[in-house]
Amino acid sequence: MTRRRLLLLAPLGATVLAGGAFFAMLVRMTQGKFDPRGVPSMIIDKPVPPFDLPDESGAKLTNADLATGRPVLVNFFASWCEPCVEEAPVLMQMKQRGVPIYGIAYKDKPNATLGFLRGHGNPYARIAMDEPGRVAIDWGLYGVPESYLIDGQGIVRWRYVGPLTADVATTQVAGLMRKFA
């Protein structure tokens, strides 16, 4: 092969490489392993940022309570958030499947939160009331709803922005629960 022939093959080679990469992206997107829209999180693989908040009964709920020895899901929500309504049935299904879920009510009046839970069901083991929204800043919250998976040692392992869907719950969350069990 002459150099000219090799040179003229180069565009094809570059295209095949790029095509292969795009194919890998698409396949991983369908498996939920690749998300070009994903927002980077600073706290992945780090311990839960320390917090100390009142729970729904007025008792204390701290970051230490999340390290239970098995993975738990932490869900930021608010009564004023419409996508949270959409997410509520998915969380209820997960609760029935035995996923421990901790709620953090973001910038919400406790009465409004409790009203929301009466209306849409309460999937949470315990709920921390983050009325000033300061804890959300430590977590780097992007918006509500947003969910985090914490492993048994209290290390943040996964983050999901936006309402969880049944599909994400059965594929990604279930897989992560097994992985970190």
């Binding site: 022939r5 003229l8 295209t15 790029a18 095509g19 698409l26 997107m29 980077p40």
Partner: protein, 654 residues
Amino acid sequence: MIPELGHFALALAVAFAFAQGIVPLWGAYRRDARLMNAAPAIAIGQLMALVVSYACLVWSALVDDFSVLNIAENSHSLKPLLYKITGTWGDHEGSTLLWCLILAGCGGAIALFGRKLPGSLRARVIGVLGATACGFELFALTASDPFTRVWPPPLDGRDMNPLLQDPGLAFHPPILYVGYVGFAVPFAFAVAALLEGRVDAAWGRWVRPWALGAWCFLTGGIALGSWWAYYELGWGGYWFWDPVENASLLPWLTGTALLHSAIVVEKREALKTWTVLLAIGTFSLSLSGTFLVRSGILNSVHSFANDPARGVFILVLLGLVIGGSLLLFAFRAPAMTGSGLFAPISREGALVLNNILLCSITAVVLTGTTYPLFADLLLNTKLSVGAPFFNATVFPLAIPVFAAMALGPMLSWKRAALWPAFRRLWWALLVALAAEMFVVLKMHALPAMAFGCAAWIICGALADVVDRARLFRVPLHDSFGRLRGMPRAAFGTTIGHAGLGVTIAGIAGMSLAVQSIVLVKPGETVHLAGYDWTLEGVRDAAGSNYSARVATIDVRRNGKLVTVLEPSLRTFPVQQMTTTEAAIETNGLRDLYAVIGGEREGSAVLRLHDNPLAPWIWFGALIMATGGMISLADRRLRIGAPARRAVPAIAARA
């Protein structure tokens, strides 16, 4: 019944496209004139089937047939008539169908206007277009069917994204798509030439008008999109280096390079392999741009609902079209050799420089757009590449393009000298330096340089005409005679280049824009950029499918009323979205631009801008497209290319 008819017509189009992809190519291979001559009729048949299919979709939208899923999800009974029509291409399925329709239109155009082409070349071009169309129509029919029914039909539709309910954006997709898809014709010519095994001056002459036509539409489409972003998104900017914007810029850059390299093929029979590669590359970038956005890989502010599963289908299609043509290129191109030799300093040399620089800019933009994706895939890191990267890399490459632009048309073919060309441009250089000094005295270095470039390009373009007409050197009457005798293509070059100069001036002007975000109560006045902006009040207003809050702002200069701006915030109840409608007052030299944000305790948040020369950005693009159109009307192209000297029956080796 009508949607089923549309679905059937689409299926018919697929059948036609399938035949179109096989019969003419087989005929050209076998040298069978009957099969080759069938090509135009099949292409017209495909076009007619798609026109019927699209008409059915428009009809379903007009009569509010919400039993069609696509209409139910994107339309609403209260939506204005115009948007019911334009909404058909506002979503994924409809825009794919429009894309196919335009591709079929390209085949039809070759069938109708390509009568002077040699039989085998025409058959192959139509065949390649048919094969490409077949793939995408199959995609439309199976994976993104716009005619899917839903049962039970909803009482009313979910309405269209309010951001898209705007006259500027309504006509943006068809114009942009004609630009994108138009490059399918140079692509088909390139593949046909590879199949034929020859590229010559006549080929260059046939390809150029199609490339030029597509380029004009793409220029217009990009400008319209940028204008829409300017007045509808209400961020005060006009270009955000967003992946979707970059996806349209990439084929524009390579398409511009193609326009220029095709001149060299036409005049000098050099750069043949390169021009063929550019033709393939431009259409490949158009395809990748339009379809990667749909797959959800590229992530953007103006994106469609996307679906990775569909993405795999698209990627396989792209692989076949792009990979297949490049494979053919790798095998057949080595046999092509250029005959025209030229010195580095010559018209050809200048055009080569243009190509190198434009392709470097393309490479930089392509890298910036796709690097975050590859980094995420391979290195698992999230990063974003934004305006600072693009500004820092594109401008240093663009400035030599601008510098060479005025000089290039002054050089002679084969061999030239720089000095005589400079001598004819001395006054352009003088104006450019004056513009630069004038701005430097008042402001910063970069805008000054850009103003200098703009003046240099505009004057340089005019200098070419002045020089050809020998203006001021022979009596005025003789000059007019010379002007009348000049080919329109030369005027096209001048106008096109000057248009770019105008756009650059606009961009430079915008970089000097002044803006301010203020919280004011009715009756309060803000001083900005030498104007007094007074908020008179905020009131409610109602539209057909939205409600609005309208602010009234009086703008005064030295106590004299200049204009009254009424920006509004529209709330669309069905989609639960709000859009901003910026109020813009322009006098051609600067825009006064106001946007209303939220309201708090009786005060309103206003964003006020003074944008110098802003309208020039889009006006310049319009001039560029006009230049292209004038060049298209050149006698040489209207009368048609001369027949090839002899048509030797070189049997195509397949």
